[in-house]
Symmetry: C3
């Protein structure tokens, strides 16, 4: 029985890149109030030196799961203009929520096409919203017998999977990272900390990928052989070998574009191996991200296995 | 009474990205000959391990000002071709200066339009200049009662502001960084040094920004809520709160593009918080960069305040 | 007498970015079986913490040669699609080799032009190759009295030059790096290791550059004054001064584009100086990369000199 109530709550907590304090506090609350039921009590590492990120250390870790807690969204500019945070899809009429000095805001995205063919995006509201206010997709969580559909499956679902794995985890690290959707910037110091303190340099990226010509709903969790970045073959092969000898359904993904905390780890001054492993979704970066429940189960199962065997 | 003589001198010292040795030496001379009049004597950190950058450490630092000492410009290629250093605006007839093995050079930029619509840039000179010679905008410092206009307000003005703040600074760090205009590369090791040695991870970026639809001449120093990068909200809010409780005029900037030493710090393996704070200018990256004197005063005032209160 | 047999062997060992294990093992075998003939026995640093890279430390090092051991190539996607690794030139009919679970593969690249003007690339093969299989240019080594022509002069020739220099090297470091062709990622941890352990921060990038309007076959090794990145002038001038006082033929290169392990070192949190020094080639990133033998000799000579004098 999957705890989708938690997932729905996670989706509702706002946290665009750079503004992850609320989701961080939600997670700290959840962890401290639930960890007594977990098999192993993790050390919780947080504080200003970790910005709004969290590291959980279980037992004698060899491998770290990275799940980013930030989301895409928008920031208000001048004259009701909107500026993207990360790469949200621009669809006229999308419902957005946020808050500024005058209170809670519920607004709507308007695409304005200019005569020269260019376009820009505004918000529709009866007053000007404070400059620099972050706006998020309005929560809209839809669960059926086979699928879950909601804004921010990317990556509240990756965070939720990490929390499911946490329950039974004996040895390993879970990193809740920030800024993934907008240029990164936290996996450098987070990776440095766990490498220097625990000598951990094996990373699994718990994030959501795309349904494509080669990766389909319901065919299992995707192990990404590459996106814009290329994981080290030797590490990748160990992961695929473990998956093959299991009964967990999985799909091999080969993409030319896209990135993750893995490609960010690659750019650090650290010898991290990394591999992106996640369920695929439709309607990427829109309020309608849709994932098959069976793929979510495969994702949990594969993470549990890999955290033991890698 | 502002010491604009010093600013005029700073503008005249050449120092395109990668070739900052002259401006570095000018600054070391200035600092060592003036610091006796400063409230607090800083430790001066420099040397080959810091390339052409300088770190000044005052008292017990909590926050660091980063001011980049390099400028945009051009480098001579083959056949009188010019290659950009950073992103200078290309305007036919711009006066450029430099020197090579045969002596001082004063030349002019020529835009050549090809029949296929493409264009490239040459220099006009009676001989071929040594390959790889850096060329800078010819100094042309114009001061009125209300504005200063000159090449390289970006960022000799940011450097100059840091030097004004230095006079009264009791606790803090000033970093004179290099390579900012051309891909960065020094804030990584500079940030690492001050983080590891002084545990300083609060950064203020003393640099010059753009006059836009939302940011105007004479309306005060701009606090940037974002450009291509997004500063951490929690840190940004502390800065804005301090500014609000002061009498210093300031403007909130929200841009979709542009970067600084702040966006570079974000990409390091270090948990730096950063915020760009600077006066706005017209005619960005041209020889005619223009800034309002009142905004410069606000910039000094806000830095003095923040270095105490952050 | 140059040992081109070794170069031919190096070219034949597969090793696209991320999959450098075979070329790493080849190099370890070569080094351990030949180092007894070298003037100075290096310390060989390798292991999982160094991924598939190798560091050789000779005597009291001051300068490090970086030679990347990975190559460009392709990876199989879905439906006989090919995805680039690095930036190979796309030429219809290029012969590619690799291996998957069913054995050795020899195939051919097919460019498919769509009616809308777009194009994509496939492989021609009687079965589907395993997803994510790396494919390389088929070895085709052509040696004449004046030139060598082959796939992967970039950078098996740079590796080979480093091995020639190793024979006589008394003090210095040779780094065999990975991932250079596809976004980098190893010079960060490799540079960190040699900087922190040996205080070495002078780098020379042993790699192959382009024949252009300003750099020609047979005119000597190219010292690059810039590509997309700009080496620090002070360091560059020391190198050029040493070259000028020698009898080694060399050419000064000034490019606006391109990058190397040098530009990657620039992005680390380390104060590395770097300079790209390499023979020029025609037919860059194709199976027909062609280099003049005399330029190769100049490259060896200049590296030998610089490793002593820098």
């Amino acid at each position: 029985m999957m705890d989708f109530e938690l997932l729905e709550k996670l989706v509702a907590v706002r946290g665009t890149s750079g503004d992850e304090i609320s989701i961080k506090e939600f997670l700290i609350d959840y962890i401290t109030s639930h960890q007594s039921n977990w098999k192993q009590q993790p050390e919780i590492i947080q504080g200003e030196e970790f910005q709004d990120a969290i590291i959980l250390v279980f037992g004698q870790p060899k491998t770290a799961i990275f799940a980013h807690i930030d989301t895409i969204g928008f920031m208000t500019g001048y004259d009701k203009n909107l500026i993207k945070i990360g790469g949200p899809r621009i669809i006229d009429g999308i419902q957005l929520v946020g808050s500024d000095s005058q209170g809670e805001i519920e607004t709507e995205l308007l695409v304005i096409e200019e005569e020269d063919g260019s376009s820009h995006i505004n918000y529709v509201y009866d007053r000007e919203i404070d400059r620099g206010t972050p706006l998020s997709f309005k929560p809209d969580f839809r669960l059926t017998d086979t699928h879950v559909q909601s804004p921010y499956m990317d990556n509240r679902l990756g965070v939720w999977v990490a929390l499911q794995v946490a329950k039974e985890l004996e040895n390993g690290i879970i990193v809740f990272s920030t800024y993934e959707e907008h240029g990164g910037g936290s996996v450098g110091f987070l990776g440095k900390y766990i490498y220097e303190k625990y000598n951990v340099r094996q990373a699994l990226i718990s994030d959501i990928t795309w349904v494509t010509d080669g990766v389909h709903h319901g065919k299992g969790v995707a192990i990404s052989m590459r996106d814009s970045g290329i994981p080290r073959r030797k590490y990748l092969n160990r992961i695929i070998d473990i998956a093959k000898t299991s009964s967990v359904p999985f799909q091999l993904e080969v993409e030319s574009a896209g990135g993750s905390d893995g490609t960010m780890l690659q750019k650090t001054d650290l010898p991290f191996d990394w591999c992106f492993i996640g369920a695929p979704e439709d309607n990427v970066h829109s309020p309608d991200e849709k994932v098959a429940l069976s793929d979510i189960q495969s994702m949990i199962d594969l993470y549990q296995l890999l955290m033991k065997k890698l």
